[in-house]
Amino acid sequence: MQEFLNAIIDLWEGSGLAQLLNFSNGGWKNLIMIAIACVLLFLAIKKQFEPLLLLPIAFGMLLVNLPLGGVMDPQRNAMVNFSAEELQSYVDGTYEQVYPVYESETKFNYTMEQIEQINAQYKMKVISVEKILNAQNQEVSVVRIDGDMNGVYDEVYKVTDIDEAGNISLVIPYWQHFEQGGLLWYLYQGVKFGIYPPLIFLGIGAMTDFGPLLSNPKSFLLGAAAQFGIFVTYFGARCLNLLPFAAEWGIDFTPAQAASIAIIGGADGPTAIFLTSKLAPELLGAIAVAAYSYMALVPIIQPPIMRALTTEKERKVVMTELRTVSKTEKILFPIMVTIICVLLLPSAAPLIGMLMLGNLMRESGVVDRISKTAQNELMNIVTICLGVTVGATANAHNFLKPTTLLIICLGLIAFAMGTAGGTLLGKLMYAVTGGKVNPLIGSAGVSAVPMAARVAQKEGQRANPSNFLLMHAMGPNVAGVIGSAVAAGVLLTLFG
């Protein structure tokens, strides 16, 4: 009976539920994170807020916060010392390497007396100091130390030097033993090494028609103005360190962290993830969740700002029809943008390069098959991997901090400032062109494609039902994608 009870107790103690309910060990934090994940799942499924990304992000968050699941456990590299036989074959050059062999970087310099003292302490004794020739006919010295632990423990070293006084230098060869990591940890390497975001950009490029931008190149400027929020927020994040309670709250944003937070203002999820994974991976969970949440909330965040900054008369402006763009222009566009941007800002090459490659595949019309793959299968696979692993970075330990709340607040400021920047430049264009530009299209420069353009269309039509701004707003919208990639390149160059 006692054995049965013990077995049940062991089972309970080894369960995730016991860990979750162990409040003194931080189980409550996991419970909060599980609740947040469930709220995000609700928003994704019921409210359909960016469900393609929010759903995998929320599920990744849920998985990683279930104790002992181990889905995000890193692969561990344990150092295993050589046995006497392995060392012999190693110095002899006949060791068959299953795993990479390393030699400890630290050299141990001992006199023979010291070694004997240590050996006596640990009940070991030096058997011999030998000089042998290895397979390459090089002379190698080996110290053999016989352990006194039932003959199992033989400590061996490779001697690198013996000086005239008899002092010997030793290094410990070892091989690495890999403890397998969790599934999501392996998938996360695509985020860590900045692979997924450019692949997403490849798909975006293959799906995007840059025609509206080409027919009205002034839209590039609106895309640039909407990046205003990024840099203002960087300033704000850095200034937060000066608050009197900053140290108390653990607020100490480094320039790299401030830049990662500020990029939320670009309203471009892949760019935010790309930059954060390079500059401040410890903030990835909070920044990704904030970035995608605000992208989903574009229809709620932007309209009040747009209405506040524009007059009824400005919103009513009907813009003239866009010119037709030739196929040649559309084919040359990605090539020229790549050359110009990458020459000027090499750090933006992964994002801009992949975006433009995808677009060239689309517009050239000669690789229809891979263009469709980039738009559909590849994009979907990468979206799943990206979403679920980014969600998995939001574990309770990293996420439940005062800084997370600040990141979410700063992200909102960045987003709002970006919208304001684009709209204000739109107003300027309205004034300069004598009322030919509707300032509402400037708000679409925040690159949440195509949501921001749709919001501009909706607001324009609200003011004037015969107004069709969608295609005019698509220009700044796709320019915003390029603008945010350029801004990320600037920040990467400055702080990377």
């Binding site: 190149p217 590039f220 640039a224 000066l242 110009i340 941007c341 320019a479 801004a487």
Partner: protein, 118 residues
């Protein structure tokens, strides 16, 4: 103490201000360059296109043809001329007209004046 704090504030503000300046200048600079390049490129393309048009008169099959303008409205038909490119079937014209009619508030009149291939 006050001097140290003031120096720290100055350093942070200075660095952040410089970052804003560099960032905005570079982003605007790159996108301004792209604006200029594609503006010129568009002009060159349109000039080239006009020259081609002058040199080779457009074939009749490509020229827009006038057809009966289906007026979509609840009450009175509105006379208008309509430009529809060759190769666009009448069914497509009807479907587009119907779609516009569905979007129109009741009582208003809409006319589809032109349909061109993208």
């Amino acid at each position: 103490m006050v001097n140290v704090l003031a120096a720290e504030v100055g350093t942070i503000m200075g660095d952040a201000g410089l970052t804003i300046l560099i960032g905005l200048v570079v982003v605007f600079g790159v996108l301004l360059l792209l604006t200029g390049v594609f503006k010129l490129f568009g002009m060159a393309m349109s000039v080239g296109g006009e020259k081609v048009k002058e040199a080779v008169p457009a074939p009749a099959s490509v020229a827009p043809v006038a057809s009966v303008a289906p007026i979509v409205g609840n009450t009175q038909p509105v006379q208008s001329t309509q430009e529809i490119q060759n190769g666009i079937p009448a069914e497509t014209v009807a479907v587009i007209s119907a779609a516009v009619a569905c979007m129109a508030p009741a009582g208003t009149q809409y006319a589809v004046r032109g349909i061109r291939k993208a």
